[in-house]
C-alpha cells in the first residue's frame, strides 16, 4: 500500500519535469493532467477521498480542458529558443537546485522521518466535509461563489470579439 505512494510520487515528479521541459504547449498541458491525476491518487492514499475525486472532476476535467481549448484556439506552436542572454540558464539551474535543497533541509529538520506519530483516523467522508463546509465555513463558501460569478463575467467581457 505504501509503495503506491512512492510510485505515484515519482510519476508526479517526472510529469512535472515534463511540463516544464516540453517545447509544445499541448504536451505540457497533457503532462500537467498526468500530474493532477497522480496527485489525486496520492490524496486518496492520504485519506482524502472526496478531495481526490473533486480534483479529477474540477481540476483535471474542467480547468485543464479550458487550458487545452485555449491552446488549440490560439494554435500555440513550438516555442522558439530565447534570443536574450544565456546567463539566466547557467546561473539559474544551480540556484533552483540550491533552493530545492534548502527547502528539503528545512522540512527534514522540522519533521525527521522517524518521529511521526501514527496518523490519527480521519473521517473524511463527504458528509463530514459537507457539515464543516456549511456550518463553520459558510461565509467563505458564499464569498467564493460570488468570486466565481465575477470571474465568469470578467471572462465573457474580456474575451468577447469587438464587432
Amino acid at each position: 500500500m505504501v509503495v503506491l505512494f512512492y510510485i505515484f510520487a515519482a510519476l508526479a515528479v517526472i510529469a512535472a519535469l515534463s511540463v516544464v521541459a516540453q517545447r509544445t504547449p499541448v504536451y505540457s498541458a497533457l503532462s500537467l493532467i498526468v500530474v493532477l491525476c497522480s496527485l489525486a491518487v496520492v490524496y486518496l492514499l492520504l485519506g482524502a477521498e472526496f478531495i481526490a475525486v473533486i480534483q479529477v472532476i474540477v481540476y483535471a476535467g474542467a480547468i485543464m480542458v479550458l487550458f487545452v481549448f485555449v491552446i488549440m484556439l490560439l494554435n500555440a506552436g513550438r516555442e522558439v529558443p530565447s534570443h536574450r542572454s544565456r546567463m539566466a540558464r547557467w546561473l539559474g539551474a544551480p540556484l533552483v537546485a540550491a533552493f530545492l535543497v534548502e527547502i528539503l533541509l528545512a522540512v527534514w529538520q522540522q519533521f525527521p522521518a522517524g518521529s511521526t506519530r501514527p496518523a490519527s483516523s480521519l473521517d473524511a467522508a463527504p458528509a463530514a466535509i459537507g457539515h464543516l463546509l456549511f456550518r463553520n465555513y459558510v461565509l467563505p463558501f458564499e464569498v467564493t461563489s460570488i468570486l466565481v460569478l465575477v470571474a465568469i463575467l470578467g471572462a465573457v467581457v474580456l474575451a468577447k470579439k469587438e464587432f
Partner: protein, 100 residues
C-alpha cells in the same frame, strides 16, 4: 504509513519545479500552467497536514484553493486571448511593454 516528511518533500519538489518553469519558460500559457503546478504542490502540503493532525480543515482549504484556481484560470486565459488578439504573440519577451 507515509511519513509526513516524505509528503512535504514531494510537495516541495513539485513547487520548486513549478517555480523554475515559471521563471524560465517563454510561452505565456506554459508559465500559467507552472502556476497551477505550484498551487497543486501547496494543496498536497495541506492534505498531508490534514492527515497528520487529524483535522479536516486542511481538506476544506484545498476545496477552496481548487475553486479559486478555477476562477483565476478563467480570467487569466481570457486575458491571454485578449492579449493574443492585440499583439499576436504568446512570447513573454515580446509582451514586455504596455505601449501598443
Amino acid at each position: 504509513m507515509v511519513p509526513l516528511a516524505h509528503v512535504l518533500a514531494l510537495s516541495a519538489t513539485l513547487f520548486v519545479i513549478g517555480a523554475a518553469g515559471f521563471v524560465f519558460r517563454k510561452n505565456i500559457i506554459t508559465v500559467f500552467m507552472c502556476i497551477e503546478l505550484m498551487l497543486n504542490a501547496v494543496n498536497l502540503a495541506f492534505i498531508g497536514f490534514s492527515r497528520y493532525l487529524g483535522n479536516l480543515d486542511g481538506q476544506l482549504f484545498v476545496f477552496f484553493v481548487i475553486v479559486v484556481a478555477a476562477a483565476e484560470a478563467t480570467v487569466g486565459l481570457a486575458i491571454i486571448i485578449a492579449l493574443y488578439r492585440n499583439r499576436n504573440t504568446l512570447n513573454i519577451e515580446d509582451l514586455d511593454s504596455m505601449k501598443m
